[in-house]
């Protein structure tokens, strides 16, 4: 298996996630916290993020259904999700969370609904892209150093 190529693919995917605004510098800080004792720290954090954020999205959905126009409640739930987004550098998701909160402040229910659909969409896209990224990293395995043997024939 061409591990170097897999690593290149992972690096390229990660670069594109930054270039397209899905992730920001905070993601690098999370990856920098990986070490020999916790080599999969970033993946564990991201996994926890998606578990947590899925729950928070459900909470928001239920709140919007059960408490129509309770913008304070909606906002409080979204604030939690936004905080999580900050933790892993989920920049696009974060922006949509902010839009939602702005709509709450304006008491614009339709704006909230539109923003919430975008939050869910960005959540799904980011999940798929990061799953691909970590799958590539897992396939590539730990970084290997290849000793180049020079020798005569």
């Amino acid at each position: 298996m061409d591990y170097a190529n897999l690593r290149r693919q992972a690096a390229s995917l990660k670069r594109s996630l930054f270039d397209q605004g899905y992730l920001d510098e905070q993601f690098c800080q999370v990856e920098d916290l990986q070490d020999e004792a916790s080599p999969n720290f970033a993946e564990e954090v991201v996994s926890l993020f998606f578990k947590d954020s899925a729950r928070l999205v459900t909470n928001i959905e239920q709140a919007m259904e059960k408490y129509p126009k309770d913008f304070n409640r909606w906002d409080a739930h979204m604030q939690q999700l936004r905080g999580s987004c900050f933790s892993i550098g989920a920049s696009k998701m974060n922006n949509e969370c902010t839009s939602f909160r702005n709509s709450c402040r304006e008491e614009n229910a339709e704006g909230c609904r539109r923003s919430f659909q975008k939050v869910k969409r960005e959540h799904a896209v980011l999940r798929q892209k990061l799953e691909s990224y970590f799958q590539l990293l897992r396939q590539a395995g730990p970084a290997r150093t290849t000793a180049v043997r020079s020798g005569g024939k």
Binding site: S38, E44, V45, F49, D52, Q79, G83, S87
Partner: protein, 126 residues
Amino acid sequence: MASSLKALLVEDTAVQRMVLSALLRKQFHCEITMAENGKEAVDMFLEGNTFDIVFCDKDMPIMTGPEAVGKIRAMGATDVKIVGVSTDFEAMEAFMSAGADVFVPKPIRLDVVEPMIQEVINKKNN
């Protein structure tokens, strides 16, 4: 930088606890205790626990960060450095009024935390 600082993280979101605790543990070798809301944090102080630094989120269930900070200061814990943390800059006033020493916006960055930790280490050593 090595330290034996005792840090209390007051944060209701698991992801944020995980990232910040890893940052403090790995970069500064802090001994970490976690609380999931302001009341748990206050209870820790009431139980006689001491900390060198507290990182406290603002919006949490049961008891908010500023409310917890106010109660912690009111019980005489004036030496501990309390850092208010939030995604909203508007939270700064609430934290500072409650008695926090400093406010930092989320996400907490290494270059922002490092001088704070160093200040606490220096104070502890002197």
